[in-house]
């Protein structure tokens, strides 16, 4: 699991991650990366509707990694809900920082493509 040369300075074992990402391959890769980091992927939504359903289910979430544009809709309503229940957010978008509304610039923002190390750092920094 440490084959990619992580420094192992932070332990993300068991961190419950919720993913919103509409590109299948990218979503699968993110799942794999999170599994490699020892995280627990508690939900993967590829549509906004699905994302709301997962939040509705009340499943515990430690961190959310959100694509910004999800099949033609923005992810911000989902981000609002997560934010109001205190879930830290990492945005991951092909547009980079400029692709994220300014009010969310306080959050961690990843530009695709990203590495396992970047995911690790972002999750670590996003958490209180």
């Amino acid at each position: 699991m440490l084959s990619e040369g992580r420094d192992g300075s932070c332990d993300l074992t068991g961190v419950k991650v919720f993913i919103v990402e509409d590109e299948s391959l990218v979503a699968m890769q993110l799942e794999d990366m999170l599994l490699d980091l020892g995280c627990d992927v508690v939900g993967l939504a590829m549509r906004i509707k699905g994302a709301h359903e997962i939040i509705d289910s009340g499943i515990p979430i430690d961190v959310a990694i959100l694509d910004v544009n999800v099949s033609g809709e923005t992810v911000y309503p989902v981000a609002e809900r997560l934010c109001s229940s205190g879930v830290p957010i990492v945005f991951a978008t092909g547009y980079g920082r400029e692709g994220v509304e300014e009010r969310w610039h306080g959050c961690q923002i990843l530009q695709k493509p990203y590495t396992l190390q970047q995911i690790e750092t972002s999750i670590d920094r996003s958490r209180p």
Partner: protein, 519 residues
């Protein structure tokens, strides 16, 4: 003669010209010298050397010079002017002496020296002058009488109203100046008209505003078109263009008018609404506001120049959007390739095989991009995607049957990946391994209110010559990708059925709309 005082000169002068002195009736001879003296309008008489031989009181007042200073002296000695005005004045006198015909200078700026007791220096004045010949008995011109009117005040008022088009003739009419002034002015007028026409037809927007309330005194066609053909002249900017009141332009005009600064803006957004019932239109303009000053340097108005840059701004915004979109697509594509590489090289047993799998996935993605690029990334026909994967097989081995369906870019790329994984599995373990197997792909689509659906039926019939391995569906990446795309990305249904005769894969999905492209 030039040494004599003007008071006594005129009667003799008149007599010398052989003027008839009445017909002997009972009518009392008027005192012409007295009349000359008290005429309310400035008069003076010059000899052929352009020396003063007579001036009246009004002339003394107008020129700030006494007759003692003037008489016997040359006009250009007293009021030198090396410029255009001096040449014009001299030419007018020359013309009267040469032709014996009166001449008029309807409007002439002419500086005069201010006397020491008034502070000295030069004072800019505007004049209107009529030059009339006084002829000797032989018809030769001996003197010229000038009647001049100081129109400085009127010009200044008018200047404020109509810069840069000094509209003097109308003002002279007000003055009830001689009719010939009007006639002589026609030429000047036509010159002014030509100038005005030039501005009117200029491609850029031009307007002239006067006073602190910014009253339109001139607008050209381009400007008028821009604001929807509204009547502007005589109205304030606030009255004529109420919708721009809160867009910051009035404040800029105020700044130009009060502080004399030049203000300009590039590609400034402006909302124009020609009528309250009409839709507001957003436009972009470049503009410059220049203060208009009078001779004293006081600001009297604002000269507005502008150009409509809406199309250029829109084009550049569109280009910006395309660049953002391109960047987004490239990044997403890189992320997809990264995922492919990661999956292809994960848990590698055979590195060559892994490299082959990666490269064929990369090529499948690239071919899908080609199909989309040929159609400007607007759509890709499903048959084109299938033929890219399966086109190398003979028709009797691969049967494709279904209506043409146009896929959006997002749908096309996702389906291309699914078809590639199914095809490469069929090549290795299924109907396309060996020479005898048959693959039948049937599909149907129907448009629904919530978007088009697509149903695909992929049926493999393994050949007898297929490798001895049992019917196989590679676990791991292939199945995972297909499942994720069909069930997750498309939110569709998937049925994978491994039979002795081969794989049967059925899926039903709702296609992404064109608007979902690359998001």
């Amino acid at each position: 003669m030039q040494q004599q005082a003007g008071d006594t000169l005129l009667p003799r002068l008149v007599a010398g010209l052989g003027r008839p002195s009445g017909h002997g009736g009972a009518v009392e001879e008027p005192d012409f010298a007295g009349i000359f003296e008290v005429l309310p309008s400035p008069f003076m008489v010059l000899d052929a050397d352009l020396r003063y031989v007579a001036v009246n009181r009004a002339y003394e007042e107008a020129t700030l010079r006494s007759r003692q200073e003037l008489l016997g002296r040359g006009l250009f000695e007293m009021f030198p002017n090396e410029g255009e005005s001096g040449r014009r004045l001299r030419a007018s006198f020359d013309s009267v002496f040469a032709t014996g015909e009166p001449d008029t200078i309807a409007f002439i700026p002419y500086e005069i020296p201010r006397p020491e007791w008034q502070g000295g220096g030069m004072e800019q004045r505007y004049w209107s002058a009529t030059h009339t010949p006084l002829k000797a008995a032989d018809g030769s011109v001996r003197f010229v009488v000038q009647n001049t009117v100081d129109v400085t005040e009127i010009v200044r008022i008018k200047e404020a109203q109509s810069l840069p088009f000094r509209n003097v003739p109308g003002e002279l009419a007000l003055l009830k100046h001689a009719q010939d002034v009007e006639e002589a002015y026609q030429e000047t007028v036509s010159e002014g008209e030509a100038f005005r026409r030039l501005f009117r037809q200029a491609p850029g927007m031009i307007a002239v505003l006067e006073g602190p309330e910014h009253v339109f005194t001139f607008v050209n066609d381009s400007y008028q078109r821009f604001v929807g053909g509204r009547d502007l002249v005589g109205r304030t900017v606030r009255e004529a263009l109420p919708e721009i009141a809160d867009q910051g332009f009035l404040e800029l005009l105020d700044a130009v008018y009060t502080r004399g600064e030049t203000v300009s803006g590039e590609a400034m957004p402006i909302t124009i609404q020609p009528h309250p019932d009409m839709a507001a239109v957003e436009a972009f303009i470049d503009f410059t506001y220049n203060p208009i000053s009078n001779a004293e340097g006081a600001i009297t108005g604002v000269f507005v120049q502008g150009s409509d840059r809406t199309e250029a701004v829109r084009a550049s915004q569109h280009q910006r959007t395309l660049m953002d979109e391109l960047n987004h697509r490239v990044k997403n594509t890189l992320a997809t390739i990264q995922a492919m590489a990661r999956q292809s090289f994960r848990d590698v047993g055979d590195l060559d095989e892994a490299r082959y799998a990666f490269e064929s996935r990369l090529l499948a993605l690239s071919r899908a991009h080609n199909i989309l690029a040929e159609r400007r990334w607007e759509s890709a026909p499903l048959t084109a995607l299938l033929k890219e994967e399966l086109g190398s097989f003979a028709e009797q081995r691969v049967r494709l049957d279904g209506p043409e369906i146009l896929l959006s870019a997002k749908s096309a790329i996702a389906l291309a990946i699914v078809l590639h994984e199914l095809t490469s599995n069929a090549r290795r373990y299924g109907a396309l391994a060996g020479e005898a197997g048959v693959l039948a792909v049937q599909w149907s689509g129907e448009a629904q209110t919530s978007g088009q659906t697509l149903e695909v039926d992929w049926q493999e019939a393994r050949g007898t010559d297929a490798p001895g391995a049992p019917v196989h569906l590679e676990p791991g990446y292939g199945v995972r990708v297909i499942t994720r795309i069909i069930e997750g990305e498309f939110g569709g249904t998937l049925a994978l059925d491994l039979r002795e005769t081969g794989l049967i894969c059925r899926f039903k999905i709702k296609l992404f709309e064109a608007g979902d492209i690359a998001v």
